[in-house]
Symmetry: C4
Subunit: 221 residues, 4 copies
């Protein structure tokens, strides 16, 4: 809130990344753990109707798929965020707000996941609608990355010294892949909701496989 | 609890800010993420009644507005807290308690937000009451800042060396803006609850726009 | 799990306190923030029955008292834990388990608080039972401090160099005050549940007033 | 996401463990604290039927046992994770994913715990099924440790200098104990669900007793 008396050293114009990391990690850790509340314990009535607890649980397999999808999504965002912060030297006001926008998307994800867990197993128009809602929020969640890298192409001084404008431009292009993939998945979600879920999980697995060993960052302090 | 044998160095009379930061960040990160639990998945009955899931979700748009309002509010408090801690060298007992008072307000915010999400869309006296309750707690949440800066004007030794009594006085005045704005919003909330929500979101956006780049703090460690 | 090849330096036999702090702070921050879920939004039926939302909310004032009590309790535990860790140089296996026992008490507190919030306003035997349950868990929550200081009197090498056996003995005695006060409150809870709540809040306020300025710890790093 | 321009120093090929620690601690702290939501406040009907609140609470003793079991399990995982990280110098992509797999198990644990708390007191086939479901997820939760140590036997450069291939092989064998014990408990769970719960708690207590003092790690920083 305060327009602080600016110190002379220009480097102090940048905020430290430490607390941004801590707060972001906190929000992501909580969002990923809150997902479990979307898994509903079958009621005694449901257990009786399904001829047993195991069967009642098995019938809700699509909700576990929704859970797994969202878990992988937030897991990937965390990995990205971690790699991202390592390249950033400081956050200015706009970057802080873009980061809060990113966290808004992640913190909201348990809601469409709950919708998905509740309705994707029902089939028909309701299942399609649930998958489209989930897919649309995924696009929104992936968008702030593009805006952040766009901001960094204009303010390369916010990057660590080893990264420059050229790098930021390359990353901005890369960041576009996320929203585009999620956008492409929306028609799939509308037609075949369960296929869309497997598609989302596939992105996660693919990401895991292709990024093995390329994760490079600071050494243990 | 313990009256500790005071070491000789006077600086050690001040507690470190690190764990206050960690605990406060934790509470704020959890409160901001718990807000999502206020977004309710429509029941199958509601979906049928609304002729489809999308429509059933769309009908609850005021609850998303309430969610967004509270998210932005906690986001701003976090940014403020972050900038605040950067200026504080240490916490004495009273500051620790004022900080816990601040966290009490933030941690409680999901409750009036849930009330707002449930009732602001209903319209009439109930919607007004919900908005007034939310607005009143916002005043309470903004008040500890005034008390903290008041305490710092009396104990400028708790501030980092570059800030003095004059700075603390200036900030105390600035801190008053928050509760006053939220107080002014209460009559709006009573008359036009939805307008009050847009007003709260407007504060967030205005804050985001006017604070771009003025956020100055320590460099990445 | 692993019996690690002990390095030669005896100091390395002690575990670092950093992660114990982080995990404990996390659990306490979450427990204190989860308390808000015990505040229930009145249902439309309850609002109608109470002739309005404000009145429906006002009727549940005892649940806010229960919330405040538990919030202050966890707040105090956090302050104690913070001051405690500052005096501890390292955790051995037993101390780690005593700390997990302490966290078990804190993490469980939202449950008796929910019972209290639900039933203390009902009055009669049910309200008394709710207050006694809450009070009993408070005793359990305060007990691990005694065990931790008892362990430290036997292993003063776990303390920071400036504290010795004599200090640990003094603290062990002081730590007894907590469980004893909570134990004394149980008969009050049985007879006059609401008085017990004010008593618990009174402990918090008293603690806040008497500890002003005596909080001494490490300087900002 | 980004294939980063690799710096020349090979050590920088490893990611820092700090943020993995923070995120993992966050997920574990949240999961362990969310367990309390599985403890249900008796409804007024249940209180009446049980002739009092205390009796209504007492009748749900098996749910407290389930809570305690899961709390101890996550507590042990946290202690293991803490000791594990101390031996790891850096995380490569595969290790990061194995860690996310581990967190998936822990974050999901409140779900089978809720099933257990709901149904283990019912007795009969439903109670057996609940205990088997809980036991099966415990196996899954314990498995990533084996995979992580397997990976470390192939990439000993990820370990701190004092640990080598031989150590990783020894730990890989040790890590197998966990899943095997949990696997052996499944038949017990099927036959005598409550005995299985005591068995799980017994593992925790045994672990606590045998690991006293062998926890060796870095000194307080």
């Amino acid at each position: 809130m305060a327009a602080i008396e600016a110190p002379d050293v220009p480097v102090a114009r940048l905020s430290s990344t430490g607390r941004v990391e801590a707060f972001s990690d906190g929000v992501m850790a909580i969002a990923i753990t809150l997902l479990v509340l979307d898994l509903k314990v079958p009621t005694p009535d449901q257990v009786d109707a399904a001829h047993g607890l195991i069967q009642a649980l098995a019938e809700r397999w699509t909700s576990y798929l929704a859970y797994l999808t969202a878990f992988l999504t937030i897991g990937i965002v965390w990995l990205n965020h971690r790699a991202f912060i390592d390249k950033v030297r400081g956050f200015d006001g706009k970057m802080l707000w873009l980061n809060i926008l990113l966290l808004l998307g992640i913190a909201t994800l348990p809601f469409p996941t709950a919708i998905l867990a509740e309705y994707v197993g029902v089939g028909g128009a309701v299942a399609s609608a649930a998958a489209v809602v989930y897919g649309s929020l995924s696009v929104v969640t992936a968008a702030p990355w593009v805006l952040m890298w766009l901001h960094l192409t204009r303010h390369p001084e916010l990057l660590e010294p080893e990264y420059g404008v050229a790098y930021a431009r390359k990353e901005r292009k890369r960041a576009l892949i996320g929203p585009v993939i999620y956008l492409l998945a929306i028609p799939i979600a509308a037609v075949a909701p369960l296929v869309a879920l497997f598609f989302y999980i596939g992105i996660g697995v693919l990401y895991a496989v292709t990024n093995q060993g390329v994760d490079v960052s600071r050494v243990k302090s």
